[in-house]
Symmetry: C2
């Protein structure tokens, strides 16, 4: 790049897969990236833009002249084009759409009109549809001759004259049938078509559950408007799992290519919330400062109760958040799972109560201290189980992503209950309040 | 089920998709499940077994007579059959394999001979392969006439007479080509075939990166032995993300349908490790018990330092574990990412040092205490960043899943460094040691 040996560069880049070009773009410094895209000019493969992190994409798109954007987007499948367009300002979108040919403009506009994160926004609007009375032979001839077909497809849809969806045929059934067989005899009914307004995660779960390679997307009148393919679903499922992991770990939607400043900025709020809850826990300890002064062993042991509760709560939380995400947990079995988690909390609480009681006795030679920490441990482990399951269920009920805030809330509960029950119980038992 | 109204039941169950039958089986009590499978008899759909949790599958398979197992497995695609077989004892496997027809026996045996979690174990051994000199017409005729084809397929492979892989054709290119076109002219080279011994996660990442719907699996001589399809990849990627989430949350591979006892048993070891590290942290506090007795504010404030470090460490850890899983982090950029995380730890450490210093001063009216907690905070946040990135990198290097043990290790580091730096510094500063 430094040498601007354009010919050599173009050759090299042309041999790269779009995702490799994407990785390359991400690994470059900002100016190098700009230089590379500039040098490639017309040869720049727009599909690579769908493979890079959002910050990189915005930067490249911001630099490109509008003529090149229009031309590049025109060559993309509609779902990829929408993916790039949806990051832009409405005026920029309009500007670009206005310069596209009529059919493409209508297609992209239709996707963009559906709300973000719905099946309609993610779908590909290019698809192959045939009437039910056609034969396999007619269909094959049509596929051979029509130039306007999508880049690749896995199903042919069968529709009536008003584009109402009747069924679908996998390509292998077409290939395995004789030319004279009628399309409607080999199509299977698509009872599992996806409403365009369905949330993309629900659509992804549906396709993944039924192992669908592609699914028809229909509007409210059951008219075919697009197709959702398995690679989009794969992306949605990966993003969703990624989001859960990051939220549970207390990081926002940062990416590895973000710089230090923007990462600090994105992690700061999570730490600030944690600071607030840590101070809350400290206030609880502060209530008992006189107690601690008289019996410093309490200060030594108190983090154990809090930490065990925090861990047990995180376990329950993790299971609950994932079960909600995979739709394994719903109102039908919630009561059963709550009972189950409470039992688990109680049993593990009793087991670890015995262990810490013995340890406290051996360490400080004080059997009563052992008894106190044991009772506090049981109380905190049961609270941990309840907090771990009830908080995410509550957040889910009010429409907040249960992974988002649960981790901090759950450890707040277990810290406060842990410190309060242990110090309070000890102060009352030993008369140190 | 209670009424044993077999006919009605069979009708109902037959209308269910395999994954719905799987969900039904999971939601039933053990005896009801046994009764249902017994009543269904020959009509029991074995694909449902691939949709249930492992404990449920073992139970059902254990109850089934071997004749029914043999017949049921014979009807499955080879990858599904292997999925069920691999849970059984070697003797049971041999017993069942011996009763299967020769070709199926050889196919299943070939998959089972590859180690667990490799592409070879996951692949489907039924595929369609044609020689390069065939025309599109010949291929279509072959597909129409051969009865022995896999249940469904997305690609046709092109092989030489020794089954060495030459290329692959997507079904839509076959449908769009004229009958006289030769296969080798429309095939694309499959530079991205997957060695049978490749780890299934690597294979899944590869297919997901290049958006492949199906990929050829080849042996060490580049001979085609099977095909890996996108739905298997989807399962692998989901399992992998699921595993990361669960390990980071401190739960093993438990499932929602597990009972209380087995869940307690699976969570107990994680809590035990946490107990050990919590005791370690307590020992550190114990060193400074005289210091705390003289200045009880230290006991009140010390959880703040530890908790902030734990949170910051978990953030770095989460990002690192995911970057390793998605292969975004490797030896080429590790140094850069370590530097980045250290800077983030330092900057966030300084920001929160100022905040807690002010808070400590306001609360206890002691500016020196504020200074001490500020310094301890910076030390612990930087340690948290280093622990959060170096521990998972180390585990990954020695071949341990970085998600497995990192969370506990990282919070151990931050607890110990947090308590030690804050209490030690305070003791030294105020001469209370």
């Amino acid at each position: 790049i430094a040498d601007r040996d354009i010919l050599f560069l173009k050759e090299q880049v042309a041999s790269l897969h779009e995702s490799e070009l994407g990785d390359l773009l991400e690994s470059l410094q900002s100016e190098q990236r700009r230089a590379l895209v500039g040098l490639l000019g017309e040869d720049f493969d727009f599909t690579a833009l769908t493979e890079v992190d959002e910050s990189v994409r915005r930067e490249i798109v911001g630099d490109l002249p509008i003529e090149q954007m229009v031309e590049g987007l025109g060559e993309l499948d509609s779902d990829d084009a929408v993916y790039i367009l949806e990051d832009l300002d409405p005026e920029e979108q309009d500007d670009i759409l206005a310069r596209l040919p009529f059919t493409e403009r209508v297609r992209l506009r239709r996707s963009l009109d559906y709300p973000e994160e719905t099946a309609g926004r993610r779908m590909q609007t290019e698809f192959v549809a045939v009437p039910p009375f056609w034969s396999v032979g007619q269909t094959i001839d049509y596929l051979r001759e029509d130039e306007n077909l999508p880049f690749s497809f896995a199903q042919v849809f069968v529709v009536d004259p008003t584009f109402r969806l009747l069924g679908a045929i996998d390509l292998d059934s077409i290939l395995r049938s004789r030319r004279e067989v009628r399309v409607e005899d080999i199509m299977h009914e698509t009872s599992r078509s996806i409403p365009a307004l369905m949330d993309q995660e629900d659509a992804a779960q549906l396709m993944s559950q039924y192992d669908l390679l592609s699914a028809a997307v229909v509007d409210e009148n059951n008219r075919l408007v697009g197709v959702l393919t398995i690679d989009d679903v794969l992306d949605v499922i990966q993003e969703e799992a990624e989001e859960d992991i990051k939220f549970l770990g207390g990081v926002g939607d940062e990416e590895l290519s973000d710089n230090v400043v923007s990462t600090v900025r994105s992690r700061f709020p999570w730490l600030l919330v944690n600071l607030a809850t840590a101070i809350l826990a400290s206030l609880i300890i502060g209530i008992f400062d006189a107690t601690i002064q008289q019996m410093v062993a309490l200060a030594v042991l108190m983090p154990i109760v809090a930490s065990m509760g925090g861990n047990a709560g995180t376990q329950t939380l993790t299971v609950t958040v994932r079960a909600l995400a995979t739709r394994d947990l719903d109102i039908y079995n919630a009561a059963r799972i709550i009972r189950r988690e409470t039992w688990i909390g109680l049993i593990n609480g009793l087991l670890f109560a015995v262990l810490v009681a013995i340890m406290a006795f051996v360490w400080f030679g004080n059997a009563q201290l052992g008894l106190v920490i044991a009772i506090a441990m049981v109380i905190n482990m049961v609270s941990a189980a309840l907090a771990g399951i009830l908080l995410p269920l509550l957040l889910d009920k009010i429409g907040v992503d249960p992974a988002l805030a649960s981790a901090v809330f759950v450890t707040t509960v277990t810290d406060i209950v842990g410190f309060f029950s242990f110090l309070g119980l000890a102060g009352w038992w030993f008369g140190l309040l």
